[in-house]
Symmetry: C2
Subunit: 226 residues, 2 copies
DNA sequence: CCGTCATTCAATTATTCCATTGAATGACGG
DNA sequence: CCGTCATTCAATGGAATAATTGAATGACGG
């Protein structure tokens, strides 16, 4: 009864993958792992969850072939098994975006009226950077910045945006980015900067998508994840 | 406790979509619905499941924004809510294909050595059809054929392939297609035709993908789904 | 070889999900 | 307005999943 016919067995395999994506914590894990390889405890800290719980979710993801684990000393680093995982994540997000009014409601409720917060495209940003017209800030924590960031970006973790902006030239546009299209940090950074009178926009998506688009990434070699 | 912060609420919405994809029956439902709008009882018959069970799974899909329901008299016709659903399905399938050795094993075990079963691409087929070089058969049941098929295709339901092929010209290549990339019917049709000495290949993917690629679809207006 | 530390395993409870059953709804046809 | 039929609802029992706890592995450093 477990396998009635090969067709159903295939659907069962597909269902395993989808089921593995069917938990908020695991989706959040994927978004973090998409930034680069992470250890269990680093992920547990980011998600503010017990290590054992995260370990089990990671194993669920591994069983589904979504992430892969590499042992390095006493640490186990998890990374995405394949770029196809990002597109599956994006596709699920796409369905949710298009179909669920709930998502709209949440986004709007949280970010007030952000109609004029049209993001900067990657192409646009490259032109603006080449011409020196904008300041690009990476509002992720320092450890994530160190593991890879857009060339030319300055690391300004979200908590330091306000202080940093005091020294920024008013009038010069600021572009902020963070982990991905649904990472709230760049939204918050832009909102804060605007309330202080700066011209600020978000970069579309975030770091993993930048990398996935085949664009160059810069890393800081001698800073370890904390 | 239900909604801790907006970010988590978003992940929860994404998880709802993924979870809805996380069941073999629901995936099979999606594949059928992707062919065109279907009633509950028609789907229940295809999947050989009790109507109530199918109804509940359909409602789960509807809650996730994956399918939409339209009442027509005493029938309720379900259809895909959006083309993005197909890409989510494909993305999940992509992860499973790339990552799960299990899938490989199942496919290989069932279809023997089908290394030389390279499918015909849609572009290739259009050329072959224009030049009149191949016979195209649609091996889906007649009701699905009626609702939309590739122009020029002949409907030869799987069970009739053997009988039909007796009248087919030996030497003329036959191309078969069915519901989609994991629909086993076209595999079986090709295997049967080859064992009878015909040259036969599969079309890549199937009907919904053909339609999604923007290619023309022909319908038989006066045949209703049974 | 022993202590430490990151990770995993095992066992528990609470929760959610799934299939089935039988009854309820809602629309058509007479 | 009543019977019929497609669909949905409500309730049940059984299975799978999730979070927690505490113990077990496995590798490094002395």
């Amino acid at each position: 009864m477990s396998i009635r016919n090969p067709k159903q067995a295939l659907y069962e395999q597909f269902a395993i993958v989808a089921k593995a994506l069917g938990h908020p914590l695991r989706l959040e894990l994927i978004e973090h792992i998409a930034q680069g390889a992470r250890s269990v405890e680093a992920l547990a800290a980011k998600l503010e969850q017990p290590v054992a719980n995260i370990s089990q979710h990671l194993q669920a993801l591994r069983r589904a072939g979504i992430v892969s684990a590499d042992r390095d000393g006493k640490f186990v680093h998890y990374s995405l098994a394949d770029a196809s995982v990002l597109s599956a994540f994006a596709a699920v997000r796409g369905v949710a975006e298009r179909q669920l009014a709930e998502v709209d409601r949440i986004v709007r409720g949280y970010f007030d009226a952000l109609d004029d917060m049209r993001p900067v495209t990657r192409e646009e940003l490259q032109t603006l950077m080449r011409d020196g017209l904008v300041t690009l800030i990476d509002v992720r924590p320092a450890d994530e910045f160190a593991l890879g960031h857009v060339p030319g970006a300055i690391n300004v973790p979200l908590g330091e945006v306000k202080a940093w902006s005091a020294d920024a030239t008013v009038g010069r546009e600021i572009v902020a980015y963070c982990r991905g299209p649904w990472c709230v940090m760049s939204f918050e950074a832009v909102a804060a900067l605007r309330s202080l009178g700066h011209a600020a926009r978000r970069l579309e998506d975030g770091m993993p998508e930048w990398q996935a688009a085949g664009l160059p990434v810069e890393a800081v070699a001698d800073i370890a994840a904390d």
